[in-house]
Amino acid sequence: MSRSYQTLVRIALFAGLAAAWELFPRAGIVDAMLLPPLSDVLATLIKLLGQPNVHEALAVTAAEVIVAFLIAVPIGALIGVMAAENEYFGEIIRPLLFYVFSIPKSIFLPLFILALGIGFPQKVAYAAFSTVFIVIMSASAAVESVKAEHTLVARSYGATRSQIVTWVYVPSMLPILLETLRIAMIFNFTGVMIAEMYASRTGIGHLIANWGENFMMPQLFAGVVLLASMSILFNEAIRTLEARCSTWRT
């Protein structure tokens, strides 16, 4: 009862926001020039999705996001696991990681432009750079979440090193690893967007920045809705997987 009630309130809240977005500009409560009604934004979105230049921008952005993700996650995971497993390496590298982690990565953006220009490699490098530290931190935390008792149990039954990895480490780390993927994608996507909006010739971030500068509000909001939906979709997909493992997360 209370659960379905909760869902109902959530839907009502969502519908309320959508309705406000539609009605306030139409009623003149907010300036329709600044905030176009939702239906106009959605109509613009559908129109934009039919345009070749938008297709191209989306393809470029998607490629940047995927490549940066595929670079940052394995490298970060490897360093993170090593820092947690190898005491010496961990002691050496941990302070440095904490220092760099605390710095806002966007202040390095001009350096990336000077070194790599404003094309695809610069976007990927900057996004991977801004993502890799959170992956290192989370991967270390994942290794540390493996309970010593569980490893001891496996050893007492004669498990080999590789059996301990597959039977104990992987399932122990899985919940945190999934969470890491989710958070890494947030950092990664943000990195690509910032780089594209700051200086770029193409990409959806570049288009959004342009639409904003030229006061093309329906297009701007259409872009925001599109990117927001994509992010939420990815995030929720991983969260569903996480929830499945939540029972054995102690």
Binding site: R155, S156, G158, W167, P171, S172, C245, T247
Partner: protein
């Protein structure tokens, strides 16, 4: 020839104790240098005997157990199980039951019990059948599909015991298996363990902090001193079997408990 050789091995096993520890010592590296942890431990546990080790916290009981299991290397001394030296874990000879949190939370009860068999690549049906048998032995028939977080503390330890027995090792080592349980459950579990023990005729080495539990369960109680751990007393518990709760109220029980308590108190 093969036949004769087998006979010789068999005879040796009968002649040698289930567990033998000879002048075992251990030192670990602390912040202020070497700390002696165990000093000259000698012990011998006969086949089918129930031995309980008690001692003050930090006396090295758990270290000793882990060394017997082949899970930790000693600095000096020898350990034999079934007449052969123990240097690496050997589940065919020794099953270990740990404290409460040792079940894998991502596996169901039956999958936890099957775990040692799965490591040995036993076919799925065979290991399921064997695990079912073990769950029945510990009184958990029908609970195989539950995850550890869906089981009570006592039930979790029953699963741990089933897991320890699933490969039918002659020796079972138990490291404070009931420490996290409430007093009532603890007594019930002790009683159940004795039943399982008498049905399976295993050799058991059991560590506990509870002197009542020690006297109730043991054939012999080994009392360890504070660090560096030595065995300072060996108390034979000559209460009849099967043990009953009523025995706890007897004078003999009280005197045995008193004797052990006195030894521990003197050294701490």
């Amino acid at each position: 020839m093969q036949h004769v050789a087998n006979l010789t091995v068999a005879r040796e096993q009968v002649a040698s104790p289930a567990i033998e520890v000879r002048s075992l010592s251990h030192v670990y590296q602390g912040r202020d240098g070497a700390v002696p942890a165990l000093a000259g431990i000698d012990l011998s546990v006969g086949h089918g005997r129930f031995t309980v080790i008690v001692g003050p916290s930090g006396c090295g009981k758990t270290s000793l157990l882990l060394m017997i299991a082949g899970l930790r290397r000693q600095a000096a001394g020898e350990i034999f199980c079934e007449g052969r030296p123990m240097t690496v874990p050997d589940p065919a000879r020794i099953g270990v039951v740990f404290q409460e949190a040792s079940l894998f939370p991502w596996l169901t009860a039956i999958d936890n019990v099957e775990f040692p068999l799965a490591l040995k690549h036993m076919p799925r049906e065979d290991r399921r059948a064997r695990a079912d048998e073990m769950l029945k032995l510990v009184g958990l028939e029908g609970f195989g599909g539950r995850y550890p977080h869906e089981l009570s503390g006592g039930m979790k330890q029953r699963v741990s015991i089933a897991r320890g027995l699933v490969q039918d090792p002659p020796v079972l080592l138990m490291d404070e298996p009931f420490a996290a349980l409430d007093e009532q459950t603890r007594m019930t579990m002790g009683h159940e363990l004795l039943k399982i023990w008498s049905e399976t005729s295993k050799t058991v080495v059991f560590i506990t902090h509870s002197l009542t539990e020690a006297v109730y369960l043991a054939d012999e109680v080994l009392v360890m001193s504070a660090r560096p751990g030595r065995i300072i007393d060996r108390v034979a518990i000559e209460l009849p079997r099967p043990r009953t709760y009523e025995m706890m109220a007897t004078d003999v029980f009280g005197r045995l408990r008193e004797r052990i308590w006195h030894q521990i108190r003197v050294t701490t």
